[in-house]
Symmetry: C2
Subunit: 175 residues, 2 copies
């Protein structure tokens, strides 16, 4: 039985997405990328573009579930509000498509993908590339979104329950 | 030619809405109320309920345009993020319905409805009741949403252009 997970890394200007298939203990890369909103446009227009972009992704790749990163709570209130608005619009698009939505903090994502919560961003990207056997490193927000999807794949307990044979990935508990 | 304005006062737990008709220089009350989201529920479920509630309002009252309050940027980042998420979901529902979305700060709303930006909340509500000739005071969030709709009605310049004859409203420049 196959699960297809859409991971989202929300941002007020760039929102990353990553789609993976989970087949037993295997994780397969399906797609990733990002939705960029027009910087100078009014908020309503940016939210329209963001939702339209995510809906395109959902229509194209037909995920069965979704996971979204719990955004870093910034010290700048205006930036926090903007990020919250983008995140609210992302979740709106996900629930509208009837997708279950799981939430993970950056700490949880790092723990799941690298094995420890304080891992630098580069190490998360390195693990994403290795776990999904990618030939290159995706754009940063897309890589983060793939990490969220991978965290969710592990969270369902498929790997934890079976242990799993070591794969190409050498570091982290998520092998 | 008639405009029907949906005003929104977004909140993480209670989102107020108010619908008014603008016919020439007249403003008529159509409906108001609030959408409450289940407090203990996951964010995705709360966003689902919020969007469904707003869509019901839009389907029922068929507004031609919308206006939403620019929320107060709180000193508490977690609260600011929550409020941002609710506001993002509201705007998502509005743009999804094809409605133009205008934004007003609380200051702009107070200036439009009361005539000065530092007016207390009670005075805004008093003006809403008077301007729309309501028989009672609406729930606080609904009254705020009606105030946003009234601010938007004035903003389009219909009153500003004509001056308008004094009406029942005694205070404020919005007569």
């Amino acid at each position: 039985m196959s699960r297809r997970i859409l991971g989202i890394d929300p941002g007020s200007r760039i929102t990353g997405f990553g789609v993976i298939d989970v087949v037993g203990q295997e994780r397969h890369y399906v797609a990733s990328g990002c939705v960029r909103t027009p910087p100078g446009a009014p908020l309503a227009e940016r939210i329209r573009v963001l939702m339209a972009g995510l809906r395109d992704v959902i229509t194209t790749y037909q995920p069965t579930e979704s996971a979204i990163e719990q955004v870093f709570v910034n010290v700048n209130p205006a930036a926090t509000l903007m990020l919250g608005q983008a995140r609210g619009a992302c979740i709106a698009a996900l629930v509208d498509a009837g997708l279950p939505v799981a939430e993970y903090t950056a700490l949880q994502v790092k723990q799941a993908v690298v094995g420890q919560g304080k891992a630098p961003k580069e190490q998360v990207q390195f693990m994403v590339v290795n776990m999904l056997r990618l030939s290159g490193t995706p754009q940063a927000d897309a890589a983060d979104a793939l990490a969220v999807a991978l965290a969710h794949a592990g969270h369902a307990g498929l790997l934890a329950a079976t242990g799993g044979a070591p794969r190409k990935v050498r570091r982290g508990r998520f092998v």
